[in-house]
Subunit: 378 residues, 2 copies
Amino acid sequence: MSVEGVHALVRRTHEERVLRVLREHGALSRGQIAAKVGLSRTTLSEITGDLLSRGAVVVVDTDASLRAGSGRPAELLTLDPSSGQFLGVDLGHTRVRIAVADAAHEVMAAGHQTYGPDTGWPERVAIAFDLIDDVGTGSGVSFRALQGVGVGVAGPRPAEPAVAQAFRERFGTTVIADNNTRFAALAEAITEGPDLQDVLYIRLADGIGGGLVVGGRLVTGGHGVAGEFGHVPATGPGAEPDPCRCGRHGCLETVASVPAVLRTCRRRGLAVHTAEDLEAALRRGDPVAAAVLDEAAVAVGQVLAAAALVLDPAQIVVGGRLTRCWPGVVDRVAATIAERAGTATPRVVRAARLGDEDGALGAIAALYRQTPLLAGYH
Amino acid sequence: MSVEGVHALVRRTHEERVLRVLREHGALSRGQIAAKVGLSRTTLSEITGDLLSRGAVVVVDTDASLRAGSGRPAELLTLDPSSGQFLGVDLGHTRVRIAVADAAHEVMAAGHQTYGPDTGWPERVAIAFDLIDDVGTGSGVSFRALQGVGVGVAGPRPAEPAVAQAFRERFGTTVIADNNTRFAALAEAITEGPDLQDVLYIRLADGIGGGLVVGGRLVTGGHGVAGEFGHVPATGPGAEPDPCRCGRHGCLETVASVPAVLRTCRRRGLAVHTAEDLEAALRRGDPVAAAVLDEAAVAVGQVLAAAALVLDPAQIVVGGRLTRCWPGVVDRVAATIAERAGTATPRVVRAARLGDEDGALGAIAALYRQTPLLAGYH
């Protein structure tokens, strides 16, 4: 390698590290960048000066909270927003949602399209492609510098490889695919800030799924099925005699999913058939609805208490349609966790902040984090 | 920076990456090193040739299983064994164990010393220092290139910082301190090979503790207390009416620790006071001992089944004195996990392989893995 080549290589390596943390974290001050990449402020200033002059990096904002000793607010730098687009897709059981974000972490466009629950994967993918075209056209967002596509796929997992391959062929770029609830867990975790390390996320909806962030990383598990909170045996008073769709008995999903709660209410004489019915019953103070929901929340709390003792998360996030039926669900879950796992360790138990866009946003977050390896710079 | 400086920097960076993977993994072939550091074989050959000629790296062995196409067995390289010593210390409730390993991952010396359960932490540390001196003198191992000390500390956690500080002052080197059962988990995980990613480890002894390896990393949790399997509520038929030492009721530790099993046996009329008594009773086929141990194993299996559904480990390792009382314990745990968590996902449930040296070996493994950051090479 020539001497010039070597010099260029070192410079490029420094630059890559700066660009990588900006890609992963969005807007950062120079001080934050220096801390994250481990470069001196002097070396960093040279690098950012050059990147700014070339337009690869831009000043987006000033953040008074990061005010330096000089009294000047710290400037926040990001990647040139137009330098890349990141597409997140959430292929659920009855609808697809997409979101497009730029390299500065701003969501530029989003959309959704419903389909029947019996729609096959090839058709779902075709509907997603049409939606992406429509959203692009409607919003004026181009995908000319598409950096990657993250695709969240509702279980079962076997659909993921074929779906990923279809997106890869269509877009000719990096595609990552994972369970959509796991992506939602990542999205919820980073609503707290990009550095939150340990989060448990559970979603109480038509089924019960979840995801874990451990040490700042989304956990996939040894076989790609981590986060199966729905099939943990539930031991609460509401435990269900009917078998779960997995074939076993007493799974949390048979106690605390929306259909399970509705079924238990009906068995106790309350005619509810949808989450909206349940919500209305709760709002008018129906004691059966309140008791069944309470039992479900206790069962969820018991399962999460055991997981919290093992994993020691900083936050536990409870989301999904059931939690939106009655805000008290999350409080009841929190109280059960405190009772069963103790309060010696401070644990934040909170409701999910994101809505149905969580899967698509988590897919984008995973793309930002899937940073290129330093490998191969010889 | 001068041109010579730049050139030297690139070379040093390559070298550091090679040395780092050898430090972390022990003996590796050139092909394995190339894959792990992401250098081409050509670039790597230059680096390893230079490191070999300087004696920083040595050929330790040939591994026929890594035979190259040429028919020659692949050579395994390691760091020069004498280039560094790594000291592992396990400060338990009633004894300290130490182990010393070299930079090639060979254990050079080991020893242990008992003390009373009421011994304070400063005295335990003083006993450990004496033991280290004795083992060094007795084995002829010098600590002249001590690279670090890993100290496993039996709970509760608050002792760790003071203990770490005492070792830091004594040895003037890097000291890492963590729970000794967590270090044992790491040691057990890597008995399977350096790359095992997802392992749950539980130890059934005077108390019940555990550790997790997720994505190849030891999990500490948001507050440093991950792995508290002992205080997960146990729901098996052996659930205990007396409160746990944590103040709550029904913790796994009140059902499946050695003292809990002995207590339950006594309550049912079997006079056993030590693990050895229990072992003898089991060997002569005592039905009370068998039933109590079976109930304990089922409770452990239920707790691990829930954790396995959430974490999706490749392996679940069950160790501690109780498992050595009767080999069937692990099989019963495995059967319960299969029953409660299903068999769709292949999970290996196995007995621990290491003995009481596991904590000290895990502390050393953690040192190997605590690789210096690439930061600061400007």
